[in-house]
């Protein structure tokens, strides 16, 4: 269940997060958690093709990627995001060994996704952006 878990309130305010996850209920739950923290959600979409369309319209500050989308691995799309300099958080349902070496440094969340871990990972990945936008905000 999506709950407000961070006492600081909307800690992802102003952050755009692209969600690529093929399971509807998980996608909705994750989107709800992020919206409660003030994030703007792009998607969710179930496939990389849909995500590319969204990318053409708006650049997210971070992308949340399920590594297995309808039986297809997400890493080709993840490489495109890296080229664009968009930070990534992975969601996995499996053993981490399925993740290619080039992507092992990325934070990966185990399903079912813990809301606090999700929020913290996205905050870490978008830290640079936060500093630029809120240079005076105390941390």
């Amino acid at each position: 269940m999506a709950m407000k878990t961070d006492v600081e309130g909307a800690v992802l305010s102003g952050i755009g997060v692209l969600i690529v996850e093929d399971e509807y209920l998980i996608a909705q739950e994750v989107a709800e958690i992020l919206r409660l923290q003030g994030a703007t959600v792009l998607g969710p979409v179930a496939e990389a093709a849909g995500a590319r369309k969204l990318l053409a319209e708006k650049r997210p500050d971070c992308a949340l990627l399920d590594i297995n989308l309808r039986g297809k691995l997400v890493f080709e799309f993840a490489a495109e995001l890296q080229q664009l300099g968009i930070p990534i958080v992975l969601i996995t349902g499996y053993d981490r060994s399925i993740i290619p070496v080039a992507f092992r440094h990325l934070p990966s969340l185990q399903k079912p996704v813990n809301s606090q871990t999700l929020i913290t990972s996205i905050r870490k990945q978008t830290r640079v952006f936060l500093r630029e936008v809120e240079p005076t905000s105390p941390r």
């Binding site: 093929d22 998980i26 309808r70 039986g71 297809k72 399903k111 079912p112």
Partner: protein
């Protein structure tokens, strides 16, 4: 030590199914309890939904590679509710559903069945349900079309009762997970539901079965 898994892929797919099952359960508990005033009402709906999940997982466990028979998937739901069979007709070609996509479909059939029992064809003494499926080709894509029609009763004007989880399943989850096109309409003589499901996205969703009728009896 003996290895209990028979194929290397089995364990990963099993993990995926289990994880998915629990996220479905978690969400359906939340959505079932929303907007219901009595515990009895809530637990009755929940019990039905959990049973529907149990049935489809039993089918998935029985023949993981062959896929699930569409008619059996429908019958599982309809017959478990002891519907008056004389007022129920169904038919179509033999279709196999890929296990990965069977859960949302089974849940959708469950919601439609419960709706028929509580507000639709089987809530009145005269109503009838007719369920037909066929395969259409459109621009080179094969579509499975399921028409669920209820007639012979008057649907109260204000109550297209597929709200909450049932509504979300058919209107949102099937399009999202199966790329399905869905339509639920109340008409003067009853209810019309149409589900159009493409055969494949990245992985096959369904296929026409090659085996003759009666394979089920051989199991």
């Amino acid at each position: 030590m003996e290895n209990f898994t028979t194929k290397p892929g089995d364990n990963l797919e099993f993990q995926r199914q289990l994880r998915s099952l629990f996220s479905v359960l978690r969400t359906l508990i939340r959505l079932t309890s929303e907007g219901r005033s009595s515990v009895e009402d809530c637990s009755a709906y929940l019990e039905g939904r959990v049973s529907a999940l149990a049935h489809v997982h039993q089918m998935m466990a029985r023949a993981p590679d062959e896929g699930l028979d569409l008619e059996e998937l429908l019958c599982n739901e309809l017959l478990s509710q002891a519907l008056p069979e004389a007022r129920l007709a169904m038919g179509g070609p033999r279709i196999r559903i890929a296990p990965r996509y069977a859960v949302p479909l089974a849940l959708a059939f469950h919601e439609l069945t419960i709706n028929a029992l509580t507000h639709g064809a089987f809530a009145s003494s005269t109503g009838e349900a007719d369920i037909r499926w066929s395969v259409l080709i459109e621009n080179g894509t094969s579509w499975l079309r399921v028409n669920w029609n209820e007639s012979g009763f008057e649907l109260p004007a204000d109550s297209l009762q597929l709200k909450g989880f049932g509504f979300e399943l058919i209107e949102r989850m099937l399009p999202y997970e199966l790329n399905a096109r869905t339509a639920v309409r109340a008409v003067p003589e009853g209810l019309r539901v149409q589900l159009d499901i493409p055969a494949s996205g990245d992985t096959p969703v369904w296929r026409l079965a090659a085996e003759p009728r009666g394979w089920r009896e051989a199991l």
